[in-house]
């Protein structure tokens, strides 16, 4: 028994180390005073100097703002298109071209990003030559590109939520006199909202950390944050990147922890209420 417990603990420790050691070391080095990333300057550390430096770095702040804008637009666009695609796939039965649409929406999930990026670039160039739109490449083309692949993820999330959806709820609303559009807004939409929200967050994250596709369809002056990080690292890792990454990790971790805690609480409350309700029949 005792030896098994010991084994289990060491496996757990190894697994955690494998996953989190890189991140922990990055966070630690973000407080390092030395210019050299791998050398710990014990005399003057820890310091917040790289964080201060970051806040005055126009390039990085600009790229971060650009990334946020693109990610938000991408998420919104992907959610609208993905929800529509999900609805069509689950609800419209066996319409012509259903298998085709299903295949096409999920293709970006498995398509190598290099190919997606390249094909989109070619499309944008050809379009510009033919119609004059989109003019050059920049934020707009990056957003469109991100929407095309993020939409696939949203479709999958919404689709799975709709598959478990009790359609008699919609029928009940129709029966009570609501027209189909109203039924969608008052019944269907609120009930698939959790899927739409998680789809939105997923699309936001996908867009936020995409480098490859952005690289293809970005133009001058439209570098996203990951692109800036990537190009800076190529010239050698500078400690302010550590600081930037640490900030991002903290933001993401806080978000995840908060939402997990909130969901747990909801679940527990719900379970308690259901228990109490059962008693009323007896």
């Amino acid at each position: 028994m005792k030896s098994r417990g010991w084994f289990r603990h060491s496996v757990l420790a190894l697994g955690l180390a494998f996953l989190y050691l890189p991140i922990v070391s990055m966070i630690v080095f973000s407080f390092n005073n030395s210019r050299l990333v791998t050398v710990w300057d014990a005399a003057n550390s820890p310091t917040l100097k790289w964080y201060r430096l970051l806040l005055t770095n126009e390039q990085i702040l600009g790229a971060a703002w650009m990334s946020i804008k693109i990610a938000a637009m991408t998420a919104t666009g992907a959610v609208i298109l993905g929800t529509l695609a999900g609805l069509a796939l689950v609800r419209f039965g066996a319409f012509r071209g259903r298998a085709f649409l299903s295949g096409m929406t999920t293709a970006p999930l498995v398509m190598p990003e290099v190919i997606t990026g390249l094909s989109l670039l070619l499309l944008f160039v050809a379009l510009e030559q033919l119609t004059g739109w989109p003019q050059g490449r920049g934020m707009l083309t990056i957003t469109i590109a991100h929407v095309t692949f993020a939409m696939a993820y949203v479709t999958v999330v919404v689709q799975s939520r709709l598959t478990g959806f009790d359609e008699s709820l919609e029928e009940a609303a129709l029966d009570l006199g609501a027209r189909p559009a109203k039924v969608f807004l008052r019944i269907t939409l609120p009930l698939i909202l959790p899927a739409i929200v998680s789809g939105w967050l997923l699309a936001f994250t996908l867009s936020w950390d995409d480098v490859v596709i952005s690289q293809f369809v970005a133009g001058p002056g439209s570098s996203t944050l990951p692109m800036v990080v990537f190009s800076k690292v190529r010239l050698g890792v500078s400690p302010d990147i550590n600081a930037l990454a640490t900030i991002m990790v903290v933001i993401v971790a806080t978000g995840v922890l908060l939402s997990t805690w909130w969901m747990r609480r909801q679940e527990r409350r719900r379970a308690r209420e259901v228990q109490m309700a059962r008693r009323d029949d007896q």
Binding site: L169, E171, L174, D175, G177, A178, I187, R270, M276, D280
Partner: protein
């Protein structure tokens, strides 16, 4: 084919009212599958009509066509004299209570009930007044602010009912209204439903697979089998005067013997059944040719058991008690005949102590009154 008395008195009287729903030669096909096959039905104003049948018999499809969720492949549906065959569900003067109740999980009880009224664009105070009134009727007043998951099964059922009734429909469709409730609650709710229906004067069409439910609720029952209506009548009609083997067998339990018609007079018939030692004498005439193959159906509670041979020479049969199932209010005896045929007999347990009760492996005589057997030709 059996003559039946003109009036069955144990039923609640149906107001000889005018017809409210007319289903005319309605069929529904899904691909090759015929779900509803040329059904014609008339449902009267203010009655509780039960569509009864096993799963896949088409009863739910028929109900969904009345609600407007399915359109008939052929035939017409008239509600209150108006052709509703192509009217979408939201424009019909009909409301439905779903088997799953289909309560909107993101709305409170009050919001659920108010939903239908909001679609009618009534004023806020008017909606509030009617919701409160309806919740009082189903005794849910103090639960108005709860969400569906905070309700028990019985409470949910009442919310679903309130939500459908608050629109004051002239016709309410109920899909297995008591299916999700446990037995005790179900009985109680049945009587509540009837009460409510009488109070509000709404016409009910109920779909159910549970014959007991149909019997207690319905003023008339339509038995369905493989997409067709096989018999329509009051619960007594359906139980005592089934017109086919299917109905006799489907409703309650029955002992069925195949036989030949040997004597057919206006006032009686004699039937010879190979499985029974003596002829079966039935005290009313039927219109069938002598020699025709018929089936004799006898309900288990209409057979008497005795140790002594009854004086009659007909409608008696000897056998051995093989099994006794004590059910509290009554006992079921399975009696085996010489030819291994098992006959089911039920006897009420009138006395608490009956020491000379017929017991296992006793040789007994079965007998029945000439009015009891039902003769069926199909």
């Amino acid at each position: 084919m059996a003559d039946k008395p003109p009036e069955s008195t144990s039923q609640r009287a149906i107001e000889p009212g005018r017809e409210y729903v007319r289903i005319e030669n309605v069929s529904k096909r899904f691909g090759d599958f015929v779900a509803v096959d040329n059904v014609s039905l008339t449902i009267l104003k203010g009655e509780i009509f039960c569509l009864l049948g096993g799963s896949g018999c088409g009863k739910t499809t028929l109900l969904r066509m009345l609600a407007g969720f399915e359109t008939p492949t052929s035939g017409r549906i008239y509600i209150d004299g108006q052709d509703m065959s192509d009217t979408p569900p939201y424009a019909r003067p009909v409301n439905m209570m779903f088997q799953s109740y289909a309560l909107f999980p993101h709305m409170t009880v009050a919001k659920n009930v108010a939903f239908g009224l909001e679609q009618e664009r009534l004023s806020r105070p008017e909606i509030e007044r009617r919701v409160t009134e309806m919740l009082e009727i189903v005794r849910l007043g103090e639960l108005a602010q709860r969400k569906p998951h905070q309700l028990s099964g019985g409470q949910r059922q009442r919310v679903a009912l309130a939500r459908a009734l608050v629109k004051r429909p002239k016709l309410l469709l109920l899909d297995e209204p008591l299916g999700a409730l446990d037995k005790k609650l179900r009985e109680h709710t049945q009587f509540e439903l009837i009460n409510l229906q009488e109070r509000l004067g709404v016409t009910f069409i109920v779909v159910t697979h549970d014959q007991e439910e149909a019997m207690t609720l319905a003023s008339r029952i339509g038995v369905m089998d493989r997409g067709e209506i096989v018999q329509v009548g009051t619960p007594t009609d359906i139980y005592e005067y089934p017109t086919s083997k299917f109905v006799a067998d489907f409703i309650g339990s029955v002992n069925m013997f195949e036989g030949q018609l040997v004597e057919d007079e206006p006032d009686h018939v004699r039937i010879r059944c190979p499985e029974l030692a003596n002829t079966v004498y039935v005290d009313h005439g039927i219109s069938s040719a002598p020699g025709a193959t018929v089936w004799v159906a006898i309900r288990p509670e209409k057979i008497e058991l005795s140790r002594q041979r009854p004086p009659a020479t007909e409608n008696v049969q000897q056998g051995v008690v093989k099994e006794i199932a004590y059910m509290g209010d009554l006992s079921v005896y399975l009696v085996k005949l010489d030819n291994d045929r098992i006959v089911r007999v039920t006897l009420p347990n009138v006395e608490r102590h009956a020491d000379d009760r017929i017991s296992w492996d006793e040789t007994v005589w079965l007998s029945w009154h000439p009015t009891s057997p039902v003769v069926l030709a199909q």
